[in-house]
């Protein structure tokens, strides 16, 4: 295959991060996630606490591939309400299901009423949007067109998710869909934070949704990155990822009406400048993103209590990420990958794992790394397999995507 790659830069040549100014923390006033673990925050917390995985053998209709998946139960029986029927797709069913948990939709609509529709942005991330339904259209062409139930232009475009969330929430400010593969919904936080802090809007609905479809199952399989077994991040014997689907949202506000649930304290973004689908071998991009997130949050590495790793369970990602974490953080950090619970939810990973970070802040729960037994030799003492309990004041989330697209977020307890 074509290798468009540059020789890795020497380690000392990390671009300077000293000029990254500290930012004003931004209030997270509502948040929610729906994954293979169930609907809403309580289901996530219960499964994380009990060490119960949401992965199952692939049972998706028409997508025969021997692997384990993190499928959200009940989507097939959960059509959109009539007023939103033109948006019908698996991805929007999951978006709607997620919006309706934990009072999120009510909180978003209240923010729209409080600030005015035009002062509330929608910035959401996805890697494949509703392309699963485009695939179904191709499989059932009638005279060159999709069958009547899929003959709807608004869903066959990357921005379908942003349009849908805008229609569902009534937000009337700037609306964009971030699509940087597996960092998408982490980047959404950074981009929305800048819109709020620049005064363009007063609040933003952020988040992301991705659903299982042929493109990702067979695409990742073609790259030989899918395991036939449940994924085991950072394990010496890991042999690939398990794909999952998920949706989640957070509401960011400059001036919250009540005590925030958490603060978005910092964000860091970088590019690997190395390869389209392999990480930088020394994890320089990852390191840069983590350093910048710390700088924007005004934190020393030792102040971070929990790090939710990207930790996909592919052979390349985990050893590189572990080495980068070991360079940035002291041994005392509790870092883990939660992909063994949810699978890799791609463009939704950023929001799902941000929700896990905020749950860690609220419930003193630092998840371990499910399914993993024998640490990869690259793992420093930061990488933890066992779940722990204890106070969490600051939590970081890593999300890295194809194209070498990295984003780290820091959340802090109010």
């Amino acid at each position: 295959m074509t290798i468009l790659a540059r020789q890795p830069k020497p380690v000392p040549s990390l671009p300077a991060t000293t000029h990254t100014p500290r930012i004003q923390p931004l209030a997270v006033t509502a948040f929610t996630a729906t994954t293979a673990l169930g609907r809403g925050r309580h289901a996530q917390l219960r499964a994380l606490d009990a060490g119960m995985s949401g992965l199952r053998r692939n049972d998706l209709e028409g997508l025969a591939l021997q692997c384990w998946i993190g499928r959200v139960a009940g989507l097939e029986q959960a059509p959109l309400p009539p007023a939103l029927a033109q948006w019908e797709s698996r991805n929007h069913r999951l978006a709607w299901m997620a919006l309706n948990q934990d009072g999120f939709l009510k909180a978003a609509r209240a923010a729209v009423a409080r600030h005015g529709a035009a002062r509330v942005a929608v910035v959401v991330g996805t890697s494949t949007s509703s392309i699963g339904d485009t695939e179904r259209g191709y499989a059932r062409l009638q005279d060159g067109r999709f069958p009547p139930e899929l003959d709807r232009a608004p869903i066959h475009t990357p921005h379908a998710l942003g349009d849908f969330v805008q229609a569902a929430t009534g937000a009337g400010g700037p609306c964009m869909t971030v699509a940087t593969a597996c960092s998408s919904s982490a980047k959404a936080f950074a981009q929305a934070a800048r819109l709020v802090q620049a005064g363009v809007v007063d609040a933003a609905v952020v988040g992301g949704v991705d659903t299982l479809c042929g493109s990702v199952l067979f695409g990742f399989n073609a790259l030989q990155l899918v395991s036939t077994r449940p994924c085991k991040p950072f394990d010496a014997h890991r042999d690939g990822l398990s794909l999952g689907e998920a949706g989640g949202f957070a509401l960011l506000e400059r001036e919250p009406a009540a005590t925030p649930q958490a603060w978005l304290a910092g964000y860091g973004e970088s590019s690997d400048a190395y390869h389209m689908s392999s990480p930088h071998p020394e994890g320089l991009g990852a390191q840069l993103a983590m350093n910048q997130a710390l700088a924007r949050a005004g934190l020393e590495p030792a102040q971070v209590d929990y790090l939710n790793l990207h930790g996909t369970s592919t052979p390349a990602n985990d050893s590189v990420e572990a080495a980068a974490v070991a360079r940035v953080f002291p041994d005392t950090l509790h870092a883990s990958s939660t992909k063994g619970w949810t699978g890799h939810t791609l463009g939704a990973a950023g929001i799902v794992e941000s929700v896990f970070c905020m749950l860690a802040l609220q419930h003193r729960l630092k998840p371990g790394t499910l399914n993993s037994r024998q640490p990869d030799p690259a793992c420093g003492p930061q990488i933890r397999f066992a779940t722990a309990r204890g106070p969490v004041s600051h939590a970081m989330n890593n999300a890295f995507g194809f194209g070498g697209n990295n984003c780290s977020l820091v959340f802090s307890r109010p």
């Binding site: 074509t2 035009a118 232009a153 593969a181 005064g199 695409g219 400048a273 389209m276 070498g404 697209n405």
Partner: protein, 256 residues
Amino acid sequence: MNTTPLRARIEGIGLWAPGMPSWDAFRAGQVLADAPARPAPTLLPPNERRRAPDTVLVALQAAQAACEAAGRDPAGLPSVFASTYGDLAISDHLCQTLATAPAEVSPIRFHNSVHNAAAGYWTIGTGSMAPATALSAGAGSFAMGLLDALAQLAAGAPAVLLVAYDGQAQGPLQAYAPSRGLLGLALVLAADDGSGTGTGLQAWLDPQARADTPPAVAAGNAMQPALALAQALATRQPQLCLAGNPCALRLGLDHG
């Protein structure tokens, strides 16, 4: 609305459209009979250029031209890549393959199918470790990309590269995601500290405004709305209104 407009200076412009393979050609308003049919950004080695998706080529061509015009090292610039549909030829090919022989999905086509493919090739080709994003916002894709770039300047970035592009739709998707030909427009935007050169730009959202009609260049391309700004720059208009999503984005231009 937003009482304080976002500000920038436009330091460099890059453009590639059918028959108008440069900003100078666009500004002259003349379609060149001998213009190349496909952009050939020198950033990519020839073998990569042959295999890269057309949308990646047009994005890189425009981006490279804008950086050269600005005299900026691309490696130091955060970048925003805006595209309505990404590469529709690859989407069509993937969906066709999945419908007939899913096990034959090509790994390269798959990683090229991500919406941030052009951003990925750009950062690899220029060796840039600066942040890159990729977004879509329907007919407002250009305006939302511009807004994100301006917000980055407001957050302290000295300069940002904005690249907007779309390509040719193929197969059954044409009926749902219509786009014709290739179009790329790139701008290097710098923080407006009062000392810079180039055209001054102010932007603010306006829910009531109606977008100006773009010129009849690259007709049918989904990124055509971006050419309203190119036209305003070429003809030194003092203001214009870009299609947003849903709010229009009003721009004031100070040509100096």
